[in-house]
């Protein structure tokens, strides 16, 4: 899983069977210091509660579709959870 920031919503006019009603979010991937890292992408929202400006974590590949019901749907990126806090240990404090 990786971090991302929701930068918008995507509203499809027509979508394939199984994805009707699934929220689609425009997500900017982030590095572990919350800096943008790579190109934005569209994620299905497995939490159904994420919105613009929220920091989320997302999963790619087959596991992304498992956030949805039914899970046999053509989805390759999905939001798994909304991040409350990212705690990165200072390097000098690591053993």
């Amino acid at each position: 899983m990786f971090l991302g920031k929701v930068i918008g919503r995507v509203v499809p006019a027509v979508i394939c069977e199984g994805l009707a009603g699934v929220p689609l979010l425009w997500v900017q991937p982030l590095d572990k210091n919350s800096k943008p890292d790579g190109h934005p992408m569209v994620c299905a929202d497995g939490t159904r509660m994420a919105g613009p400006d929220e920091i989320i974590y997302w999963e790619a590949s087959r596991e992304a579709a498992l956030t949805l019901t039914p899970s046999f749907v053509p989805v390759d990126h999905a939001v798994v959870g909304i991040v409350n806090d990212i705690q990165i240990d200072p390097v000098e404090e690591r053993p």
Binding site: E63, A64, L66, T67, A78, G81, P95
Partner: protein
């Protein structure tokens, strides 16, 4: 599987129902000398790894579901071991 070092953790209260109670670690990927390669990954902890520890990470969904249980668990990356030391 890949080698990584525990860099921190993330907390989340709103998440997929199958993620309830799971510990999420932020991991720096490392090379065979133990130096960070620049990449990171967020993985579910299954072994109780702590800050700074060098860990073994499974990055494959079917194995992850076998370890953590749950046929529909949307997780691909799991910490499956803690290394004592890196030989060589």
């Amino acid at each position: 599987m890949i080698l990584a070092r525990v860099a921190g953790r993330i907390t989340s209260t709103i998440h997929h129902p199958d993620m309830e109670g799971r510990s999420l670690l932020v991991l720096d990927k490392i090379d065979p000398e133990g130096e960070p390669t620049g990449g990171y990954i967020i993985a579910v902890d299954s072994v109780g790894a702590g800050p700074g520890e060098t860990v073994l990470v499974l990055d494959e969904g079917n194995g992850a579901r076998q370890i953590l249980g749950g046929a529909d668990l949307p997780v691909r990356s799991v910490v499956v071991g803690i290394l004592d030391y890196l030989p060589g």
